[in-house]
């Protein structure tokens, strides 16, 4: 198998075929080789991101289990709110084509759970209440643009939110 390591073309006729292949591969300025290397790097990065994202999803499930656990004296959220929150996350993730990052999550004083996404000036919240409501809220820190929407988690997520989700992907 020919090596992809750069080599200087040889004048030796016995190695003509290899040298020709390398010339083809490297091109006069090594462009093709660099493209192959870039592509390989991107594949490796994508694999790493997938692994990292899987780990973050596992972290989210673990966190929801902890805050709703009855091993605590008073669970911060109920098991049903934890399940609803997981469903809400799963659906918004699907709507985003599984590209929306796993959010931060934190229970509130009324047994609700708040998901947050932050990317530069963009801030997005999804608050899940025990009665099944989901409240989306977007704020742009620079322009002051605001947007909010209430829906029932058991229903479909309104498709209009896709444009906002893209800001975080």
């Amino acid at each position: 198998m020919p090596t992809l390591a750069p080599r200087h073309p040889s004048s030796d006729s016995a190695s003509f075929a290899t040298t020709s292949f390398e010339l083809f591969l490297h091109g006069p300025d090594g462009k093709i080789l660099r493209e192959i290397q870039d592509h390989s790097r991107k594949i490796l990065e994508a694999q790493a991101e997938t692994t990292s994202e899987r780990s973050r999803i596992a972290d989210l499930k673990r966190y929801l289990g902890q805050v709703s656990s009855h091993e605590e004296e008073e669970p911060l959220i109920s098991e049903s709110t934890a399940a609803l929150s997981l469903k809400a996350w799963s659906e918004i993730w699907s709507v985003s084509g599984r590209r929306l990052p796993v959010p931060d999550a934190c229970p509130g004083p009324e047994g609700q759970l708040l998901y947050t996404w932050d990317r530069e000036e963009h801030h997005l919240e999804l608050e899940i209440f025990p009665d099944g409501r989901g409240e989306l809220f977007y704020r742009n820190r620079k322009s002051g643009e605001l947007w909010d929407l209430e829906y029932m988690v058991e229903d479909f997520i309104p498709a209009v939110i896709f444009g906002k989700l893209r800001l975080f992907m």
Partner: protein, 175 residues
Amino acid sequence: MTANVPGADWESLPSEEWVARLAVASKDAESGKANPVAFELSSRDEAETRPRLSVWAKSITSYEQAWQLMGANQKYCFAFCLKPSDIRSIRPIPKEPLAEPLDVVWYPLFTSTNGEKFPDQRLGAQGHAGISGLKAGLIPNKAQRKSLRSQLADHARVIPLPVGEWKEVDANHST
């Protein structure tokens, strides 16, 4: 200027004082970002005519004292620290309809014996203060309320608390 002695009930705190809000850990708490839901009043708070979100003046109350005063609960393992000047600079978005501006005011604690109220003498209790202007009923719409809490979170410095090293002390231990 910081407060070495507390002011009267509803008196504003000095602008340069730092106040701490004790909070539960969010999933990504170690990231150093405060979660906005920590600045949400509970329904019990909301039932008051003019509720205040509980905070502690750092020049008077240490993190450990605040944690003891809140029942030494392991779930309060982060402090979100803000300056009153930053809190007062926050405006709801959208600005209209007008809402009561945020303020940080003294919020004395009391104990009750035989129906009589006495100032709370426990260590650090004098540093109790509150953020006013967060009552849902006084903020015209939901987006404004959410904009306020997310801005409070943006201004907060996040301090992890070593609650695992702290032991609950006698609740009646006083100054």
